[in-house]
């Protein structure tokens, strides 16, 4: 089946300017997506990066040390980015940094075959000549073992899509006890031969090729698995391997000679090494990269330019070409507790009354956030812009007093103050409630929480509506103690059928349907007030090139990085 996912309008895709545009001019990145069906697209080598030369060291600054390296346990933005260098997975996105995404086979020859056309049985043929850093060939069995160990709750922390989909239940560890028999395969996982991996699901899982791009499908040699301690030195399959780590100060990756570029459609091996330097805060990172002395000339800040230095950096034309700016898929919304605010007209009025422009200004302006009126972030394939409730005067009759809860930290206070001011100006009676930041998320995730409005955020794991709408608004996931991942507690029966219907569609037909459902949910239920998407705004040294902001997570991508002498 040759199919294009969605080819949405992409008039101004270049959201990752190499120079010239100020953050205010930064256009919306609207991704186009395809799933590669020609196996040639999944073969290497990756197209050469303009200007790239081999050699040198790329230094990546981050304040907090990277907590996890174990591919089955990774779920942080940095972990997802850095693991691309050492952990290959079943599929991956070929990303040109401007929104053109192609899902290709990574360890697999293609992004997967839907054996019966019903999304229940997927088969992956493993490429020849993909090897671990030890020289041992990667087999389907190694990938199956990686999936099996992700069922172990001791190794929790990573994504749980595959485990839940394979076992058909959120309580996947009950369906398969990895500790009991580490040689066994989880339900639905079959390895007919060394180069074939078959996954059978009790329900249609048309998004599987996307989910398989998460590092949880990275292979793990069973003999090297040391449980929790595997985190220290996972066995590499990518162009780099872990050379060593100096506590929480430094992590060093060096070239993996066993990596064969002919098998890899997306990665390069230009720099001799990557050094991840932990400790410096974003102010120090930015200052050091601006000064660009010694090894800092080929450094990049993972944490980004802090608001206190933004005007200085953006105001210097010499630094502009070294900025990396892009909209991310990370979205923030004002959740409306639909169990308490039951009147749709009040929820609609809240949407009409919110002053997003003032909020974005309070947060730091157009360089850090962009107003949003849709449930899906613009980085979703198939997304279309609409505003169901344009800003206007509202009738607040029947709204009563509303309590707006926020995390008791700087950002929470800033956002809540701005929102409350806007809503009060529109006529609402708003009381703000500061909740200790440490405890904020667990509290708003209680279905019986005592607040009407609260700030919440979400970052989808792949650029499809399936990673947002059912995850946040499927009422069947709400139970006595808590909800789904959303905090509006919308429980609308008519939507259930829609979620099921769209998820069972072939993946190429899903995107416009998700976009339509996005608008339908907002118009008919208005469970949240969409507020803004975050922007990545960071700076690189003058000697490092090939960096871009990826279209899937909005994080720095290192696969094309190089250092100029």
């Amino acid at each position: 089946m040759a199919f294009a996912l969605v080819l949405a309008a992409c008039a101004a895709c270049t959201d990752n300017p190499r120079g010239g545009a100020s953050p205010e001019e930064d256009p919306v990145r609207q991704p186009t997506g395809v799933i590669a069906t020609d196996p040639a697209a999944s073969r290497g080598p990756a197209p050469e990066t303009a200007g790239a030369v081999p050699g040198g060291t790329v230094t990546v600054f981050r304040q907090t040390a990277l907590a996890r390296l174990d591919p089955q346990r990774i779920y942080s933005f940095m972990g997802l980015s850095i693991s691309q260098l050492y952990a290959r997975r079943l599929t991956t996105f070929a990303d040109d940094g401007s929104g053109k995404l192609t899902l290709v086979g990574d360890l697999a020859e293609t992004p997967g075959t839907d054996v019966n056309g019903d999304c229940r049985t997927w088969e992956f043929r493993i490429k020849e000549n993909v090897r671990f850093e030890t020289g041992a060939p990667v087999t389907a069995r190694d990938i199956a073992y990686g999936i099996a160990r992700s069922f172990d709750l001791t190794l929790a922390g990573g994504p749980t899509y595959l485990q839940e989909w394979l076992s058909g239940t959120p309580q996947y560890d009950k369906a398969f006890d990895f500790e009991k028999d580490k040689a066994a395969l989880p339900p639905g996982v079959e390895v007919p031969d060394d180069r074939t991996l078959r996954l059978r699901f009790p329900k249609a899982q048309c998004d599987l090729p996307f989910a398989a791009a998460l590092p949880a499908t990275a292979p793990v040699p069973a003999a090297a698995d040391t449980g929790l301690d595997y985190d220290r030195a996972p066995v590499a399959t990518g162009p780099y391997k872990i050379e060593g780590r100096t506590g929480d100060t430094e992590l060093r990756l060096v070239r993996n000679p066993q990596w064969d570029p002919a098998t890899d459609a997306t990665r390069h091996q230009y720099p001799d090494r990557f050094t991840l330097a932990f400790g410096a805060d974003p102010v120090a990172q930015t200052n050091r990269i601006m000064a660009a002395q010694g090894p800092d000339a080929s450094a990049v800040s993972f944490d980004g330019v802090p608001p206190s230095l933004l005007s200085r950096v953006t105001g210097d034309p010499a630094l502009d070409p070294r900025m990396l700016r892009s909209q991310t898929p990370r979205l923030t919304m004002l959740s409306i507790n639909t169990r308490r605010v039951t009147d749709l007209s009040v929820r609609a009025a809240l949407n009409r009354a919110v002053d997003r422009e003032s909020l974005v200004k309070a947060l730091g302006g157009a360089a850090v956030a962009r107003p949003l009126t849709t449930l899906l972030p613009p980085s979703t394939i198939g997304w279309h812009a609409y505003d169901a409730y344009p800003k206007s005067a509202v009738d607040v009759a029947g709204a009563g007093e509303l309590v707006l809860a926020h995390a008791d930290d700087a950002e929470g206070q800033l956002a809540a103050t701005s929102l409350a001011t806007g809503l009060r100006a529109a006529g609402f009676t708003i009381t703000t409630k500061a909740v200790p930041a440490d405890n904020y998320l667990p509290e708003i995730q209680k279905a019986d929480n005592p607040w009407d409005l609260y700030l919440d955020s979400w970052a989808p794991d792949w650029p499809s509506g399936a990673a947002v709408l059912p995850a946040l608004y499927d009422g069947r996931s709400i139970n006595a103690e808590g909800g789904n991942n959303g905090t509006s507690y919308l429980d609308a029966r008519p939507l259930d059928a829609e979620f099921d219907r769209i998820q069972a569609l072939p993946i190429d037909e899903q995107s416009p349907q998700w976009a339509a459902l996005d608008e339908k949910i907002m118009r008919e239920y208005a469970p949240v007030v969409p507020l803004y998407t975050e922007l990545t705004c960071t700076i690189r040294g003058p000697s490092v090139g090939g960096l871009f902001v990826d279209s899937v997570f909005g994080s720095l991508a290192f696969v094309n990085a190089f250092v100029t002498p």
Binding site: R68, L153, A156, P170, R232, G279, D281, A284, D438, N485
Partner: protein, 318 residues
Amino acid sequence: MRRLLSRVAVGLLTLAAVSVLTFLLFFAVPRDPAAAMCAKSCDSARLERIRAEWGLSDPVPVQYLSFVGRLVTGADGCPAPCLGRSYAGGEPVSDVLAHALPITVSVVVPAAVLWMTCGVLLGTLAAARPGSLTDRLVGALSLAGLALPLYLVGAVLLLILVYGTGTLPPPGWTPLTDDPGRWAGGLLLPWVALATTLAPGYTRLARAQVGDVLSADFVRTAAAKGLTGRAVVGRHALRASAGPLATLGALDVGAALGGTVITETTFGLNGLGRTVIAAVRADDLPVMLGAVLLGAVFVIGANTIVDGLQAVIDPRLR
């Protein structure tokens, strides 16, 4: 020997009290470390299973007793004293502390030599010439040093010497055994900043102590016998003042080894101080407990050592 045993017993009791207090404070507000481990798409059933897996559903006293049990007898694959594993990364706490401790020691020990030497020298110099220009200058400098917060001193030094002129390399930590030059270069600024803010305390104490001793009868007698000023100050005045200075030194070094949070934050060093802060933010009780206990060991140990040394320093206590 009896005195030593009693000091050790008091030290152990203090450690027990610190650990109980940390446990109680941790659970004083409702918190759920399991939520952080549960990642996205978490549901209450999985949360419950993670709590059970990590022993978080047990009552607090049971959790505490398990902690003490592991500490004393060890656990499977974790020899005594076993501090458990980090909730955040699953790494053994002993490894987390072993990574952070050399950084803090590298910052504190050379800085302590610097702040004590400079502080005591300046204070003694001022005391030897009371009322002189030197005395007044040292007094003003020490007052300024006490008034300046470390984060300000650090930021100014960074701005001028690193980002501005590039005179010094950016602060950072390299193991001493790997490259002593890089180790010292990366830590020079933290040493200077820490010494700038701590030395004034020693200057003022030394000024007062040495000044008092210099006006004592036995010192006047020593001077009358024909001893030089340097000998009077060195052999008599400074030695008689060493007790309080050593006590202050032990307290400062012991506390600093437990984590120099502001220094580490200002200069981006992931030592014990920052490890504790990160553990508090991440609800990582095992790391928090391990770091707090280690800090307490340093404070108690330093005080015990200095108590023992008092008799050597001051013959009157023998």
